[in-house]
């Protein structure tokens, strides 16, 4: 590899790619050539930097200048000024990083200051399609250490000592899982990776696979050595084309270097990996359904026990870990389990990646030590709700989790605390809701998702969730009855206790937690037939505010059902019997004289 004085890192994660970052990369290459800098400056396409809200993102080293919202036409100026003359283009820098007299480096800005990047350590720093760059930052060093210096029992002990727990959501201790599988005697065992990220709004697994695929490959090989398996499968969604492509490249490079295949690193250990594409069914994130899907069966769960550690893929002992769990493995071996266990809380060690979404300023990916409070994540890192709106709640754990209201913002994030609040860690989606969100509608939205995604094998999930959704729909349409809340609670309890798999058992969580913290909103919908947040269309009525109306008549002209009447220069009236609540009058009124209540 050549030596370059300046490295232009361009994010080619899914977020920035959809914002045209490939064109930006091409423009950089062209402009650099035009200025004769191709021997001094290199352009690299990398994984996610995390601050997706401000993409496309370009970072230029060695200054670590952070350019945000870059447009293809900005490239010429950046090359001319920054790369030729060494003058940072302040106008295009991430605004937070510019202070009056100096430019802060990325690690000093609020968004990154509190983050500790373990699983995301290489994302945005290396070119994921170049194995040498992964190796440069200590890649495959952990595997070399494991294969030459440690016994499988020592490997498992190290993982156990680190306190690492499953990052897919349930938080089962990873070392114990490996130990169970290692104790199941069989000629053939398997190592699986769950990259079937299904929660709406969650994208941390995708970012790891796109930005640092080798970290998963290396960790799975270590797992194979630990339990005595020689074959692994990565089950990834077909909807993640960039991740699938980079995984394929990474696997073939690893094979070429003899890091996968027979006699790895000259030892007598054999291990190989294959990718299996999932068609995007949420239930296939459940371990037994995922295994069925890899086997070529319909993706449906089966009762446990037997657990996969005893009887898994093709009936053989199998371990299944999530992408983020694997991404944590190599640093544990390089820095020691004590280092990992020094981060986090008593029972939850290390860091967790969250995908911030919804009503939050800094949409993106953050990795924080366990024990960080919700308030720090949402206000200090996430930058709070946009437009000065008031925070109402955040949903963790996606459709299986629950919400965390403002009164519990100071809780330290770990597995136990979130469960105590009626939510769960989940895979790490964090959807923020502000005062404009109706919590009944949110519960209805998540339930609508689980009803769609229920595989239909067991009755509580297939029928029960459907009945719950019907009740919620009735409530949001203003047809709710007094007994509905009790009915929901009874159904929720029964489904939780009797559904076959995690999907059904957790499906009632969004209802239970919104009922726990926002019962008044349910009651307002049912008793007063009002939606306090102004979301549920059926419960709203549009009215003209008499003092503000100037009688211009624009509303009447725009109304598609002609339900607004009046004479010019007089106050107009809306006939709410005919009104279809489309809201056109409200958006068109130049005097803000129409309100919905």
């Amino acid at each position: 590899m050549e030596m370059y004085r300046s490295h232009v890192m361009i994010c080619r994660g899914t977020g920035c790619t959809s914002a045209n970052s490939e064109q930006i990369a091409k423009n950089f290459e062209e402009e650099i050539k035009k200025h004769g800098l191709e021997k001094e400056v290199v352009v690299e396409r990398t994984g996610c930097f995390g601050l997706c809200a401000l993409g496309p993102i370009v970072i230029i080293y060695p200054e670590a200048s952070f350019y945000s919202l870059v447009k293809p036409e900005d490239v010429e100026e950046i090359v001319k000024e920054h790369l030729v003359k060494g003058r940072v283009v302040k106008r295009l820098l991430y605004a937070e990083s510019v202070e009056e007299d100096r430019i802060k480096s990325i690690n000093e800005v609020d968004f990154y200051k509190k983050q500790v990047r373990v699983a995301l350590r290489n994302c945005g720093i290396i070119n994921p399609e170049n194995i040498d760059e992964y190796i440069a930052f200590d890649g495959y060093k952990a595997l070399a250490k494991v294969l030459t210096e440690m016994t499988p029992v020592q490997v498992i002990d190290t993982v156990k000592k680190s306190g690492l727990r499953g990052r897919g959501g349930a938080g089962f201790p990873t070392g114990m899982k490996w130990e169970f599988a290692s104790k199941s005697h069989n000629e053939q065992k398997y190592v699986l990776c769950n990259a079937d990220e299904g929660d709406p709004g969650a994208f941390m697994d995708r970012s790891v696979l796109e930005g640092d695929p080798h970290s998963v490959i290396e960790a799975m090989t270590i797992a194979g050595y630990a339990i005595g398996a020689n074959q692994g499968y990565i089950y990834v969604r077909a909807e993640y084309p960039i991740a699938v492509k980079r995984l394929a490249i990474a696997i073939s490079q690893a094979r070429e270097y003899g890091l996968l295949g027979k006699g790895i690193m000259g030892t007598n250990f054999n291990f190989d990996l294959e990718v299996r594409l999932g068609a995007g069914a949420f239930v296939c994130g459940e371990e037994t359904a995922l295994i069925a899907s890899i086997e070529g069966q319909r993706g449906m769960p089966r009762p446990r026990p037997p657990f996969p550690a005893v009887k898994g893929l093709f009936g053989k002992p199998t371990i299944l870990n999530n992408v983020e769990t694997y991404a944590n493995i190599c640093p544990i071996f390089l820095n020691g389990p004590e280092w990992f266990a020094s981060m986090g809380t008593e029972k939850s060690k290390g860091t967790k990646v969250f995908a911030l979404g919804g009503k939050i300023n800094n949409t993106g990916l953050v990795e924080i030590p366990m024990g960080t409070t919700m308030r720090e994540v949402i206000y200090e890192i996430g930058g709070g709700c946009p437009n000065g709106k008031k925070y109402k709640a955040a949903q963790t754990g996606g459709p299986s989790g629950g919400c965390i209201p403002a009164s519990h913002l100071d809780v330290a994030i770990d597995y136990e605390n979130l469960i105590a609040l009626g939510s769960m860690m989940g895979s790490g989606g964090l959807i923020v809701m502000d005062e404009d969100n109706c919590m009944v509608d949110i519960a209805r939205y998540f339930l609508d998702f689980t009803v769609d995604e229920s595989c239909g094998k067991c009755t509580p999930c297939r029928e029960g969730t459907k009945r719950m959704l019907e009740i919620l729909e009735r409530i949001t349409e203003g047809k709710g009855e007094e007994s509905d809340i009790e009915k929901l609670e009874t159904l929720a309890k029964n489904i939780k206790n009797s559904a076959l798999c995690g999907l059904g058992q957790t499906a009632p969580n969004p209802i239970l937690s919104t009922l726990k913290y926002f019962r008044d909103e349910y009651e307002a919908h049912i008793r007063d037939k009002k939606c306090p947040a102004g979301v549920c269309q059926a419960l709203l009525s549009y009215t003209v505010i008499d003092e503000k109306c100037k009688g211009c008549g624009i509303c009447a002209k725009q109304c598609p059902v002609s339900c607004i009447s009046g004479q010019p220069k007089t106050v107009y009236k809306i006939n709410s019997d005919k009104c279809i609540k489309c809201g056109v009058c409200m958006t068109k009124c130049p005097f803000k004289a129409i309100e919905k209540k």
Partner: protein, 122 residues
């Protein structure tokens, strides 16, 4: 098939070329590259420094550029920041001087006094 030694070799070699993205603790060499610097011949100086750094496999050296340092009559100007030491400013640098600066100051830690701004002012 790569042995562990070969992997170690790849690591060392690649790290040299990409550690500017991570390690900011090593020596920094900054070349003034505003219009004045470029006109006075800063570009060949910069390329020479990069070349020397590479030739000598100096892993923790970052070569960067900056704008006008303010003393245009003394360009090309090269500043060397070594951790824990005061900044040294070299003036009127050419390719030959650049080679000496890399070899004596950056590699061995001996400041090339005669090229520094202090010597120039005398």
């Amino acid at each position: 098939m790569k042995s562990i030694q070969e992997l170690e070799e790849i690591r060392r070699r690649t790290l040299e070329t990409i550690n500017v993205r991570k390690d900011r603790s090593g020596t920094r060499v900054v070349v003034g590259m505003a219009t004045c610097g470029i006109a006075a011949g800063a570009r060949p100086v910069l390329l020479t420094i990069m070349d020397e750094v590479k030739k000598n496999s100096l892993a923790d050296v970052i070569v960067a550029q900056t704008g006008c340092i303010g003393m245009c009559r003394l360009e090309p100007i090269v500043e060397v920041y070594r951790p824990g030491e005061e900044k040294v400013t070299y003036v009127k640098v050419n390719e030959g001087k650049a080679i000496r600066i890399v070899n004596e100051h950056i590699r061995q830690g001996k400041v090339v006094e005669e090229y520094t701004i202090g010597a120039e002012d005398k």
